[in-house]
Symmetry: C2
Subunit: 297 residues, 2 copies
């Protein structure tokens, strides 16, 4: 799901009465959606893990453009975190999230407890291959099963006409499109453009984990992607550019490069004769923080 940042724009004070309605149960969510449907209104959903930043708000704005009503879900999904990952420490800032959402006239926030999404005795997991193979899966093998499971549950609960997912998590967007197609969910999946800091760093929850020194070198990731994309665009030696960028990142203080690759944007497989669009994708470590980013070529 769309992840979070604590790198927040200052929230303007919002009187509690102006804040979006919050429901905690699927039954309440369905009742609100049914009333809108009965009135002939369309619905956009923006699934998030909360701790909202300007990247999320751009997805909400996209939802607003595409439907009469916008539902934002806030749910830190336990099943997409491995035991050693940051589920416990992931930022949870609901009051601030609601204040931010009120600035965009969000119609409804769905913020369920874990037991509403994973009921007692829960035994169902949605496994996905295709675009989920490789890349993130090589390093987070259970991630996309967790994502596919929770996204399916959220889309089944809300039944929006449109759901917006950030291109920042490009492989996730491809996985969600695959999931929606395979389950014939009656929804259009829309990708929202990545929002960046002035220095190019993609907004992310996990930027909040960076020390000042790490934050200073973090924008090199986007700079490296931009350089490689230019080489690819002009018919240069992409393999050499990828290798040079990898070395450069490690020299500048990145601790590891999980992947830094040029792929077919549609399949996320290797670029081949059938490729019409290419995408550069990277996952890197800066200290104890893992950052991902991607750009079109």
């Amino acid at each position: 799901m769309n992840d979070a940042s604590t790198d927040l724009p200052p929230a303007r004070p919002v009187p509690p009465d102006d804040r979006p309605e919050v429901v905690r149960t699927i039954a309440e969510l369905r009742a609100r959606v049914a009333a809108w449907r009965a009135a002939g209104e369309t619905i956009a959903m923006v699934p998030t893990m909360g701790a909202l930043h300007a990247g999320h708000l751009s997805l909400v704005a996209e939802g607003r453009r595409r439907a009469a009503r916008v539902v934002v879900s806030i749910f830190v999904n336990p099943t997409q975190f491995a035991p050693h990952e940051d589920f416990q420490t992931y930022p949870r800032t609901e009051a601030q999230d609601l204040a931010l959402l009120s600035t965009l006239a969000t119609d409804l926030v769905f913020a369920p407890a874990p037991s509403e999404i994973y009921p007692p005795g829960d035994a169902t997991r949605i496994e996905i291959g295709g675009p989920a193979a490789g890349l993130e899966t090589d390093f987070r093998p259970h991630f996309f099963a967790g994502v596919a499971t929770v996204v399916a549950k959220l889309l089944i609960a809300c039944t929006p006409d449109v759901a917006i997912f950030g291109e920042k998590d490009f492989q996730q967007l491809a996985v969600v499109r695959r999931l929606a197609t395979d389950l014939a969910l009656p929804v259009t999946i829309v990708g929202g453009e990545t929002v960046r800091e002035a220095d190019g760093l993609a907004l992310s929850s996990r930027n909040a984990y960076l020390s000042p020194a790490e934050r200073a070198i973090a924008p090199r990731l986007h700079a490296a992607l931009t350089t490689i994309a230019e080489v690819a665009r002009t018919g240069g030696d992409v393999a050499a550019a990828l290798a040079a960028a990898r070395s450069d990142l490690l020299e500048r203080g990145f601790h590891a490069v999980d992947y830094l690759v040029l792929r077919d944007a549609a399949t996320l497989g290797p670029v081949d004769d059938a490729t019409t669009e290419r995408r550069l994708l990277a996952a890197v470590w800066l200290g104890r923080t893992r950052l991902i980013d991607n750009i079109a070529v």
Copy 2:
């Protein structure tokens, strides 16, 4: 899904105009369902693999009692068959099925091609634990992932208020209930009673595979379950009764007993202090035919 028999009652001739409408695409199915919903009508779904018999018809009749409209799906689901199983030879008798369904005023038949349910590039499987553990899974390890995947797709495509599944496949019924709860599908799952031949044999597609000699001894399975249930009901030695029944079945010409067990009817786990209802479940081989059956205690 509810399986099939070629042990059919004779179909009365039905003029083609009286036969239920058949749609082959999810889009057509949704259009019909949307029109009913707009008219305030409720919908029951009976998922089948076709080759309908009186057992299926009793499920359709149950659907008719519970909703204004009844949709029957006919789809021999490839993903619930292992490569060595009988997917290719499974009986396909659509014209006869439609004639039978017309006798029950079925509103719509959804009979998709495999590519409508598993679109090109399909990469999604729903894995399920809980009630799917053990019993059938010990002998058909991929069966319930295939069932859960196709049932989820069918219920998402049709969005019925009620879906009817036969108690003949008792573990499948428990798995479907678990699936519907875990995905919060807005449907009530209803179990339909097993229909039996006069001699006790549960109706099943696979009865058609039996030779006359095998058919003659097949009712011993139900007789054995009835005997053991009586022992259990009256506080007798169930373990001894199960062992005696197993020996008796093998002596009478059954070739193997995959399982013959008394379980908690709610969890399908072992009977324990929390058990309020018990169920006897069996899977046996008669020649090359595998038969399953179960009864309440």
